[in-house]
Symmetry: C2
Subunit: 214 residues, 2 copies
């Protein structure tokens, strides 16, 4: 199994956590998103993934992009140490929490979007940071309410075992910290984050611990 | 089953298509995203969905947000007329295609984002339209390559039966047309779009055919 990854890519970070939680070995191929004008734009990688984004997984004869599709695929292929609940309503809840991050927070603050704001719209660094914090704030405030008011929330996003939702939560909080977002009004989210960070599977996936970290 | 929906919401449109493809009856509750300062911000709706977004589905004793989570939940609860393939690799591919739209195109062009660009960053109408067309262009160009080069693509995104991916594709093309995006270099995408539009399940979900359309 081969994972095309970049240490600071939030979506790659999600998949690294999932692979660790499932105790799956993999070969890493490093794609540097800014060096050489962005290695994701090179011809060989572009033909692997026309979206020119990481992560990409090669496994079971297929080449797969999109972190949530990759995590669910791994969970179906290797059912041990499941990242998805056993019930339809549980799976729905984990997907909902994952998508609330993966669709409604992260894409707005992705590298290519921040670049567009600066280069094409000429926004200042201050405005760019305000944009970043705005979408993190809106998204995590809603997530806090959702998690705090639901008895299905446990030590992790869904009960007392890590799931795909935690694979999404931790990289989002890592990013929020990098951009000095205010996380003080998120007690449930941050308690779950702390419980995740205490686990080796999450710690080993940490960006600065990857071989391609700078 | 009750669906909170808005005729022009792309994510609601996805779920309406899915419900029609699966021949499931539902009660619609209309949430007008601009009237009265935005009905999604009202207290009752905010407590239903702290994200203050549509769609929301009430079914099987749970309240669920996020269109892709809703579609997969419906497909698990009601296996007849499936929207997900029978194999793990097929499901992975359908999720990948769906997420390429739901994460990497649509969130950047959502109503709340366009409002922020105008109100907070003071971008002109022309710049806002260029932003819109840029992300649609980048996203659909990659999707075209992905679909065109893969023999798993058929009359629809995955083979010859509509799937969750088509539920995502059609609302995205509807939006792209509203904003006069150039769709001329997307023969595979547009052939699939035409095949979808010819089906009653897609036609009945069309925004202007909804009771809350203006």
């Amino acid at each position: 199994m081969k994972l095309y990854t970049y240490y600071r890519s939030s979506a790659s970070y999600r998949v690294r956590i999932a692979l660790n939680l499932k105790a799956l070995d993999y070969e890493a191929a490093y794609v540097h998103l800014s060096r050489n004008g962005g290695e994701q734009f090179a011809a060989a990688f572009s033909s692997l993934n026309p979206q020119q984004l990481v992560p990409v997984l090669e496994e079971g004869g297929i080449t797969l992009t999109q972190s949530l599709a990759i995590i669910e695929y791994l969970d179906e292929l290797f059912p041990a140490l499941p990242l998805m609940p056993a019930t339809a309503s549980g799976r729905a809840r984990v997907r909902e929490l994952s998508l609330a991050i993966a669709c409604d927070i992260h894409p707005l603050n992705n590298l290519r979007v921040l670049k567009y704001l600066s280069a094409e719209l000429g926004v200042s660094a201050e405005q760019k940071n305000a944009w970043y914090r705005h979408w993190v704030g809106v998204g995590l405030t809603a997530l806090e309410k959702r998690l705090a008011q639901d008895p299905a929330t446990g030590r992790f996003c869904h009960g007392d075992q890590p799931s795909m939702a935690d694979c999404c939560l931790v990289p989002q909080i890592y990013n929020a910290k990098r951009f000095d977002c205010d996380l003080s009004a998120l007690p449930t989210v941050m308690a779950i984050f702390a419980n995740c960070e205490a686990q080796d599977a999450f710690a080993q996936a940490y960006p600065e611990r990857q071989p391609d970290a700078e």
